[in-house]
Structures are given as C-alpha cells and as structure tokens.
Symmetry: C2
Subunit: 135 residues, 2 copies
C-alpha cells in the first residue's frame, strides 16, 4: 500500500496501534487519570476535541479537560465498533465508533485518533470525536 512502511527502529504492527487506542478508552471508561496521562504524548501540539466542542491544544489544556471530566464522575461506558487502523512510518490513525452509555443515556460519536511512535510506544497526539446523528 502506497506509503505504508514499517522498517528499522520504527517497526510496529497495526495491533500495537489498536492496543494504544484501546488503552485510551480503558482510561476514559475507568476515569483513570494516570492511564490517560500514560496514553497521551505531552507535547505542545497535541489536540483533543470532545464531541461537539472545538479542539483543545497543548498537553496542559488537554490534561485539564480530562481532570474536569473525571472529577464530574460523568465518564461513560464505551463500546467501540467499526475500528479501522491506518499506519505509516511513525504515525498512525484509528477511526472508530464510540457507543457511549452514561447515566442511563446513550450517545454515539465518530472518532479519529492519531498516534505517534515515540521511543517504541504509540502515544496519542490527537483525539477528535464528533457526535453521530441517529438516522
């Protein structure tokens, strides 16, 4: 596939990307701030768009948003469907559908999550979730 490479020190697999994506949702479901800190890259250019909201930029603002979400105890149960991994050398992205259950209410969102391979581990650099219309 055009541009698809996995060679030398950046050798990896789609499964490793998928595992990084799963770790993000495990941290979200568990309200696990330490897990969330571990999942993300901590650079100035990370970005996080919660459903319906404009993107937050830079690790401090992204971290604050998770602290607020977890403090509100409103974090949802999430069932992922329709996951699709695309991987290039050093960067990968995952699309998936987030099926969320929170306080008895359901919602679905389409997510695009970008990961960067840093020191051999895929770290989240962008999370972008948009609400899905129920057709």
């Amino acid at each position: 596939m055009e541009g698809m490479t996995s060679e030398g020190s950046e050798d990896s697999t789609d499964e490793e990307v998928s595992a990084a994506n799963a770790a993000f949702y495990e941290a979200l479901e568990g309200g696990d701030l330490e897990g969330m800190v571990s999942v993300w890259s901590h650079t100035d250019d990370v970005q996080c768009a919660h459903p319906g909201r404009p993107p937050l930029r830079g690790w401090p603002d992204v971290l604050s948003s998770w602290q607020m979400i977890f403090a509100s105890s409103g974090f949802p149960q999430v069932i992922l469907t329709d996951e699709f991994v695309t991987r290039r050398q050093g960067i990968a992205w995952v699309t998936c559908t987030e099926n969320m259950l929170s306080r008895g209410q359901t919602a679905t969102a389409a997510a695009l999550n970008v990961f960067e391979l840093i020191d051999g581990r895929w770290r989240m650099v962008a999370h972008h979730a948009g609400p899905l219309m129920t057709a």
Copy 2:
C-alpha cells in the same frame, strides 16, 4: 518539537500543508469534483466522515460521496477559522473550524484533516468533520 522533522526528499513546510487544506475547501465550496479528485489520495485506506455520519473508507466510496453531494447542489460556502497545522515526516494533520452557510442556514463543524506527502505533494488521506454544538 518532539518528532518534528523535515529533511531530505520529504522537506516541506506548514504553509504547503495549509495550502493543501485550503484546496480541499475550495473544491468543496465550488462543487469542483476535479479539484476534489486532485486533493485526495486515491488509496484503499482513505477515509471521509461527513458531519454526523460514520466514516466512508476507500477512494471509490469517498469519491461517490462527493459526487452525490455536488450533484445535490447543496455544497456550502465555508469560512475556515482556527486552523492549526501539525507536521511530521511525510504525514501532517490540520484542525480547523468550518463555518458553513448553505441555503440560508449556518452550521459549524470541527474538522481534522490528515495529509500524506506523496511524490512531493500533500494529498488528503482522511477528512473527519464533526458538528459543533452552539453553546
């Protein structure tokens, strides 16, 4: 910035990424199918999520969606705000707010657009737009 590289044959600039992003919105505004064809990579792993909809995958389905949108003559006027470019070697992504005016109605969406540097030109490999809530 960690991971930020631009060397050798993959030398590029944020401005070139921004220009590729602008070309996408010019094609969208103009209902310009040829322009849209030129903007996108044509691989099996390109993905396109229109606001509120799950992602389409692969160039044939993505192309069909633009054909349908343009045939309906419902393509909007788009004013981009809050654009932010993140660039790595061979892959870049842009977040921006799409302020759309169509048939007298306004809507805003948060977009994350991923581009791949192919033969010296940034081609779109993922477009992901989610509706923004009006606060």
